[in-house]
């Protein structure tokens, strides 16, 4: 497990270049271009269970869900940042990618530190030190628990269809 650490304001063009947005849509097409203009070692070196860590405003810029699909596909366990841009945050919820907003953990991390994540417990351990982060609100957990937004929407459609049949 490795932590890939980056700075503040990592924008969507750094996560996945805009020039590919209309030629790469699936996770498999996205994977080789992940972080292409930010860190040329990432796409080739990332492994299942790795963590991406960053500073403030991670994922700012465009509405671009390819980096979220890509992170899920390569098995990123979580993105831990001081804060996230809102469209990226929503995209992560909708795909079930775990985001952890924990400025203290980011500040404490030093190169080579081990990071252990306990999502259900709301804890991340960095170099032996434990940091807590607040749980997601129930409205958001419902989307995650349904297996992402589309499954959540499908359940709602089924419910509406059943309701119409009964009434």
């Amino acid at each position: 497990m490795r932590v890939w650490k980056y700075g503040d304001d990592i924008n969507t063009d750094m996560l996945f270049p805009g020039k590919y947005t209309y030629t790469c849509s699936t996770a498999e097409e996205v994977k080789p271009h992940l972080l292409e203009d930010l860190d040329s070692e990432f796409a080739g070196g990332v492994k299942q269970g790795d963590i991406v860590m960053a500073g403030r405003n991670f994922g700012c810029g465009s509405s671009r869900e390819q980096p979220v699909l890509g992170f899920k596909a390569v098995g990123i366990a979580a993105v831990v940042a001081e804060s996230f841009a809102r469209i990226f945050y929503r995209a992560a919820i909708n795909q079930g990618l775990v985001l952890v907003e924990c400025p203290e953990a980011v500040a404490a991390f030093k190169d080579g530190d081990e990071a252990v994540l306990d999502i259900e417990g709301g804890k991340i351990t960095i170099g032996g030190k434990v940091f807590e982060f607040p749980p997601l609100p129930p409205e958001i957990l419902a989307i995650r628990d349904a297996g992402g937004l589309l499954n959540y929407a499908r359940a709602k459609l089924e419910e509406r269809a059943n309701h119409e049949m009964r009434s």
Partner: protein, 420 residues
């Protein structure tokens, strides 16, 4: 306690008397904007569409603009699949290649109105705050779910209140104002927050308000919104939206804000956002004289009639520097028609400008006007991220149409006040 614009809109949407920042509320947006990415969005829900259809055929506004006309077989096939979807489900609001850039089209065709909630699978959906609408970006998956169920959720944002005083001194323009604000607040300074503009906003016309609202996302804002006034009403009437069709919403005088900022418009100076962050804002004096390779005037930020008029004032009767490629990118066919009819576009083309089809192409490096390593582009667009114009080893800087036009003629970054 009074309520902000965002609180009132979201309380109204949820059917609640009031809401507080941080509260999550269900919403049913009036419209959902999607563009070329409609192809990928409907691809996610192919079987669901077969089974359930779309929730409403007047929910979606679809505008093909991002890679138009198609740059290759893949983008052409994407456009084709969107047209087939539009036909099959009777989507009411569809605008094919050449009508304009989606945000301009939404406003120009009268789809955005005061007090309305709109969402779009594009970050610059915040633009419609110019006409007192609550509008913001979502991702493709959320757009797909919205097409099926028509509802989603919002967290009520806290609000920053920005009060404007006085008037801008031409050739200083709205672009200089919003870049100055972003430089102060920072690229993430308004993340999860709403931004309201108060004070002497009457001196800003709808096109200037559009430029300001369009860039709200560049400081992380969920929405960036102007009050409704006579300027809004006159504009909406001109695009066929009657006063009886909408109900404006505005903050209470005693609403509570997370932060308050004041700007003296008369003190705003020409500025430039240097690579590679939009908040890397410098007074133009610090960059003057820098050679430029390409100049881009247009986009959804500054591609309207007043922008081309402002640019023409600096270019008319002159020639673009032979070392500069000047690209002209009108925000819509309507803008193009007006600027063709009044002679503005002819002046710009005769001076050496290259007229591009209306759309987004060069702004996101998708096609047309891609940069080579080592090149420097001065642009009126809204983003200067590394690699944004298709090359990670090139640089893009952002400025007003006045500054870009004056610089295109001089071949180097030029303060428009010195050549006006």
């Amino acid at each position: 306690m009074g309520q902000t614009f965002a609180q009132k809109i979201l309380a109204g949407a949820a059917g609640l008397p009031s809401v507080v920042p941080g509260q999550i509320v269900p919403i049913r947006p009036e419209h959902l904007l999607t563009h070329d990415n409609t192809a990928a969005i409907i691809g996610k829900i192919k079987d669901d569409l077969e089974k359930y259809g779309v929730v409403r055929n007047d929910l979606s506004i679809i505008v093909l603009d991002h890679v138009t006309p198609a740059a290759n077989e893949k983008t052409a096939a994407g456009h084709k699949s969107v047209r087939e979807f539009v036909g099959k489900y009777g989507i009411k609001n569809f605008y094919d290649v050449g009508v304009g850039i989606c945000h301009q089209v939404v406003v120009e065709k009268g789809h955005a109105a005061p007090g309305m909630i709109l969402v779009g699978s594009d970050s610059h959906t915040c633009s419609y705050g110019a006409v007192n609408a609550f509008s913001t970006g979502v991702d493709r998956t959320e757009a797909a779910a919205l097409m099926l169920v028509g509802e989603t959720w919002f967290k009520v944002p806290p609000t920053i209140r920005i009060t404007l005083r006085g008037t801008l001194k031409p050739p200083v323009s709205a672009k200089d104002l919003i870049l100055t604000i972003i430089g102060d607040i920072g690229a993430g300074g308004a993340t999860y927050q709403a931004v309201e503009f108060h004070g002497d906003v009457a001196s800003l016309d709808i096109e200037q308000r559009f430029t300001v609202a369009n860039m709200g996302i560049e400081m992380g804002a969920k929405i960036a919104v102007f009050p409704f006034d006579a300027v809004t009403e006159d504009y909406l009437t001109s695009v066929g939206v009657a006063r009886s069709d909408y109900e404006p919403v505005w903050a209470d005088p005693d609403a509570e804000y997370i932060r308050e900022l004041d700007y003296d418009l008369g003190a705003i100076e020409p500025v430039i956002a240097m690579p590679h962050k939009v908040d890397n804002v410098k007074p133009i004096s610090e960059v003057e004289g820098r050679r430029i390779d390409q100049a881009l005037i247009g986009t959804c930020t500054n591609g309207r009639v007043s922008d081309f008029h402002a640019a023409a004032a600096f270019i008319e009767g002159k020639k673009v520097d032979p070392g500069v490629r000047l690209l002209l990118l009108p925000a819509s066919r309507a803008v193009l028609e007006t600027t063709l009819a009044d002679g503005t576009m002819e002046k710009l083309v005769r001076a050496g400008g290259v007229l591009l089809p209306t759309g987004c192409g060069p702004c996101l490096g998708a096609h047309q006007g891609v940069l080579a390593p080592g090149e420097f582009c001065l642009s009126t667009a809204n983003r200067n991220f590394k690699g944004r114009m298709g090359c990670k080893d090139a640089e893009t800087a952002l400025a007003s149409p006045e500054t870009v036009a004056a610089s295109a003629v001089a071949g180097k970054v030029t303060d428009p006040r010195k050549v006006a």
